[in-house]
Amino acid sequence: MSTSLPRSVDAVAEPLLSLSQVTKRFGNFAALSEVSLDLRDGEVHCILGENGAGKSTLCNVIFGVHRPDGGVMRYRGAPFDPAGPADALGQGIAMVHQHFSLVGDLSVVDNVLLGRERGILNRKECARQLERIAAEYGLPLDPFAKIEELSVGERQRVEIVKCLIRNPRLFVLDEPTAVLLPDEIAALLDVCRRVAASGRAVVLVTHKLAEIKKVADRVTVLRGGRTVATSDDPAGDIGALVRAMIQGNVEALDSSAASILGLEPVTHVGHEPAAKTRIEVLQIDGLSVKDSQGVTRLDNFTLTVDRGEIVGVAGVEGNGQSELTAVLSGMMEATEGRIHLGEIDLTRRSPKEITAAGVGIVPEDRHAVGCVLGMSLAENIYLNRLDEFTRFGFLNRTALEREATSLMQRFDVRARGPAALFSSLSGGNQQKAVLAREMTLPNLSCLVAAQPTRGLDVGAVAAVYGHIRDACKRGIAVLLVSSELDELLTVADRIVVLYRGRVMGSCPADPKRKEAIGAMMAGQPQ
């Protein structure tokens, strides 16, 4: 463990790729400041860091998406300054991006062929190549299936195969495991090891310590765009690496947040039941949803959430969770089934009626559904309750901003002021603002939170958990939808597992049941 610049252990061979003092700015914001790093043939090098630490920017600089503003890169013994992805690809660098870049209505083969072949396409030959790669790395795929018919895990496989088929010298993976099942994660880590074993280099970006323990030869930690630590013995240095990642104050961390990081074993934190007697608040009965193509996305989903209870909905993304939240928030119509909030029938009600009934919604896609980025913070905080500030059709902005300021203090939303543009806020503060809006509904009795901690740093995650627990103490029924199983095990009282739109099973949120829940998420009933 050294907190200085990485030192080269065997100084004989030059590293495959070396970065020294690389800086990348976006406007006034330095995403990377003087980052140094070297990658050797045959190693799996993990990049560890919180959201916003500069991990993706680093990958994009290596892959030629962004050009550094300062510093030097050397690759295979020569200065390296890729003009764009095409240049990097041409020099044997392949990258799996955090967000998929696949064309949904094209087949696997066509996606692989894109940008690789000129002239008339030979799809059959490509399919044969795919099968060879599939066998070699254990990544089975139907070459002629359309991407939109594939599961998230399969799509990830397509992305990986797209890279492997180019036989890269350097393989960069930017947070590839965020959306995968436990089994799929293991398979992916195995691919990384095999690639490294064949003498090539792998860069794996992650914030999951378990993965580092399993696969990393070396680790570089980024924080605030700077290299803050490197280690040649990641498994041994885990504690120190985490301290470097979150700036030392591990002790002050919320214990649930710590366990999400993998720093502590996952323990159920739980809370005292708010009421001795069960009072059913949210009742979902036989809910089914078909999409515009007639495919069933949610199938006969039944669930009750009691007063003061936190029920977690687990499952790999794309198994009906989005549809469930969309229906509960009034953004999508159920084809069958009923939703009740106590005595109130909320089936097929508009978002406005649902809000008025006292259901708070934290949507999974904050930017698309939860806020208007081009409006001010105050306007976003009261987006759904403008009528309170309206007299004779006129909006009282002074009162709006005054009230918003008080909510900003209560929910610790940090911004220049209530008039700050929402898009200028960090992800954590945006999410806190959404929580402030949804949790201060006058008659709140139920909170539906979907992926509420996605993309947030540790401090914000802890704040979100704190608010959810507070809600629960106030006797509010909470439905927490998350693809992070550890999150649900820590925060929820009870977990139901969704698989292909159906309830696969349910059980208490007991960390000892993790394997059983994982199996249910993969479609095996327990």
Partner: protein, 363 residues
């Protein structure tokens, strides 16, 4: 198909300072004017003579001045509608058709609605209202298509424009509709002249300076639209729907209602513009009635970058340019198409500069 709004829509009226959003349009107009002058030189007309004819046509006489102001009012109304709908990220390019249906409705009511004898100015108010309603329905049709089947409003308002213009053609061609009684085969395909009582009162009552009540009405509407956009909850809803329709819906703002309001209001303003043209200036409906004013209003709206004072400035510019252009053609033999070239250049320059303006404003 989604239309990305390239311009940020900030609330409130713009402060008067050297902001890029003010400077760049001025530069664009200057650039286009220089190109226009070079073109005049190229076609072999004396530039000073052309400019003199241009100025004479705009402010050379009280009549010219009044004609320019009346025309500017028409452009401004269409421009206000464009800006209002654009707040909800809707692009109304149907001004031409909205003017046409407004003109048809105003003519029909003025001629056959038995309103001439009405008291309290209802004689011209009723035809005006009819035009407003017709324009509103015409714009609302595009809104309904957008809400019901997701039809891009650019395509639908454009097609509705063509339909509206041909509808007007039809109604002045057919004796069963608005064509004046055919006394001979030489009877022109146009309506009768509307009765005096239904004509808009002139401000001065003097036909040598025929500015009609449309001008003060336009100024009042400028204030009303400004206030709606910047101070009311309605304006807030338009903006929310324009910036993020999904989040707006989740927050209980009805997308359908907002879109219908935005496009039918824009249409109603277009219809009103048609009424001003017919009841205030032309008095008879004939083919080619809308005269491209809908497009000029659209360009004024584009040029303004979302500000109502901007619409007024651009409308005055175009109103005077049209008058000057007509006089240039008559006196200096410069085709009026030159004015169209200049307008096209202004739109293209501003569209191309929007990225640049955004970057400068973010500083």
């Amino acid at each position: 198909m989604t239309v990305v709004n390239q311009r940020g829509s900030l609330p409130g009226s713009p402060r008067l300072s050297l902001r890029p959003s003010l400077v760049v349009p001025v530069l664009a107009v200057a650039f286009a004017a220089v190109v226009g002058l070079s073109l005049i030189a190229m076609i072999g007309v004396s530039v000073p003579k052309a400019v003199a004819a241009f100025v004479d046509g705009t402010i050379g006489s009280p009549f010219a001045l009044a004609a320019s102001l009346n025309r500017s009012s028409v452009f401004a109304l269409v421009g206000f509608g464009f800006v209002l709908a654009n707040r909800a990220n809707l692009t109304n390019v149907g001004g031409e058709g909205q003017i046409a249906v407004g003109g048809i409705a105003a003519t029909a009511v003025a001629l056959y609605g038995h309103v001439s004898g009405s008291p309290l100015g209802l004689a011209f108010v009723l035809p005006t209202l009819a035009a407003v309603i017709a324009g509103g329905l015409w714009g609302g049709l595009a809104a309904v298509l957008k809400v019901k089947s997701g039809t891009n409003e650019v395509i639908s308002t454009l097609l509705l424009s063509f339909i509206g213009v041909w509808l007007l053609y039809w109604s002045v061609q057919s004796p069963a509709l608005l064509r004046k009684p055919m006394t001979s085969s030489a009877t022109l395909p146009e309506s009768l002249e509307i009765p005096d009582a239904t004509q808009l009162p002139l401000l001065t009552g003097d036909y040598s300076f025929p500015v009609h009540v449309g001008l003060p009405l336009t100024l009042i509407l400028a204030i009303v639209v400004s206030v709606i956009l910047s101070r009311t909850t309605l304006g807030f809803r338009l903006r929310a729907v324009g910036l993020n329709p999904v989040a707006a819906r989740r927050a209980g703002i009805s997308y359908a209602k907002t879109v219908v309001f935005a496009l039918s209001t824009a249409g109603a303003l277009g219809g009103l513009a048609g009424a001003l043209m017919l009841l205030g200036e032309q008095y008879t409906l004939k083919d080619g009635f809308s005269s491209g004013y809908g497009f000029d209003g659209l360009v004024a709206g584009l040029l303004s970058r979302g500000s109502i004072p901007g619409v007024i400035a651009a409308s005055l510019l175009f109103g005077f340019m049209r008058s000057g252009g007509i006089n240039m053609e008559m006196v200096a033999a410069v085709p009026t198409a030159l004015v169209v070239v200049i307008q096209g250049l202004i739109v293209i320059t501003l569209a191309g500069a929007s990225l640049f303006i955004e970057k400068l404003e973010r500083r």
